[in-house]
Amino acid sequence: MITKVQKKSQIKVITGNAAAAIAAKLARPDVVAAYPITPQTEVIEQISQFHANGEMDCELITVEGENSAMNAVMAASLAGGRVFTATSSWGLVFMYDAILAAAGARAPIVMVNVNRETPGIIAVSSGQQDMISTRDAGWIFLIAEDCQEVLDLVLQAYRLAEDYDIQVPVMVHYDGFYLSYLSEGVDVPIQEDVDRFLSVLKTQPERTKLVPGGRLGCGSHGILGGYLELRHKHVSAMERAKAKFQQIDKEYEEIFGRSYGGLVEEYRMDDADVVLVGSGSMCGTIKSVIDEKREEGVKAGLLKMRMYRPFPSEAMIKALKGKKAIGVVDRSLCFGFKGGPIYTELKAFETKLGGSKMISFIDGIANTDITKINVATMIDTTCDLAAGKNVREVTWVSYPEAQEEGGL
């Protein structure tokens, strides 16, 4: 008979940034390296305070820039350490070369990226453009909807990144200015439960590690066939990550009592005719509007992407197949395409959706707020599409001027 641990998890009212910092602390990383940037700053401040209080026994490297943060954690993780870093926007872009190197080196890094706009303008505003700018770097991308999920995903990310069968770095994204600064109740698990959840990794074979005198070197040139082999191994690991993440989500539920459905979360999808596809903090608002629309008799549902890379195409096709109309909400742009990035990618699977029609919504970029009214507009427009009405392929929800001018 197992004696139940007396300590219990606690609800704490904290920001998404604090949730990320606490999750990092609970994962007991060996090395943390980070550089502050709005809206991520609080993450590294909190970790610094934990470290200063002696609550976090890690090597804390207060680097001189994000590029060094990524380079430091990459090397530390390949030496065998558990690592953590956090950034946002321009910081993510300043890391870009190291992000590619870390993925290619298969360094199991866990990083938090607090989404913020990137291109051109020094815009301190929300948006997922930074995520899109790095989507083909070979990292696994997970996206959180609320502060609780920030904490849960960071813990799940360690299981995924460091899994012997995966060994791919994981980036946990959450919306800056929304979840970063939003204070809400978060169920903070106790250390023993987190240790138990992560202990599975200790039962696996050891990954290759850089040891002094170990006669192993990391960063070998892949010559001809060797390079191809590495690329194929990487892509194969990304594919395996889908089933692995599904399994990790289930195991997480067994210990912590929370599950999100794995790669995608389906909200009122069973009998839905029209579906919005979304990701991140907008999903909470969408759920709330869907409930109101359901009262009016509109059969709307939400498909929330929790995993963006690898693209969970099978799970999405399964959930979306046969729906009358799908509106994909993008918080970023896909320059050179009219529709948003997720829309453009999902469009590749259109023939497998059994005739579902698709449209693209662009909102929540460049300091715009995805309001309940905006979401209602999106659902109405998707209903129009389902009803066979003539609907624009791409709608900039907060920028009707574009449509008036006869533009996109």
Binding site: V13, V124, Y178, L179, L182, S183, G185, G284, T285, S288
Partner: protein, 182 residues
Amino acid sequence: MSEVRFHGRGGQGVVTTSKILANAFARTGQFGASFPMFGFERRGAPVTAFGRFSDKPIREKTQIYNPDIIVVLDPSQKNSPAVFQGLLPGGMMLLNDADNKVGVSHENLRKLGIINANKIAVEEIGLSIPNTVVVGAFARMSGLLDIEPCCEALEDYFSGKKLAANIVCARRGFEEVELFDL
């Protein structure tokens, strides 16, 4: 669900007011969510924060456009149109003001609470940071929660002598707020 908008200036603890209230709601088994409106936070600059308080989980992650309650920590903004923007019918307003006369009006405003929070704060903590007084006054005016969870919530933000002084602030806010039905 009650949607609350907080108006003040950098240095008054506007965002913290909203955070403490969210914390207090969570302590009663209810739900609270608080976040600041984006912008550069500098001492003296106008600051807006949002709070949602409910007995059900709060999922909305948007700014608040139609508040049920407005809380004004900076008296100089009390007649600003931005403060009343979108106020729903039957709305409430909590005002930190040395002048306890009803000097504001709005068609949707039905209840007004006035508290001289700066004065109490100076007396208790020696600084004119009105936020914890306003927390107590909010509990009383809104009737949404008792003062005890508010005092408990302060433990997450203060400690030692500061905590004790701020608890006194919150209690005095709760007791001394003057309520007017309009």
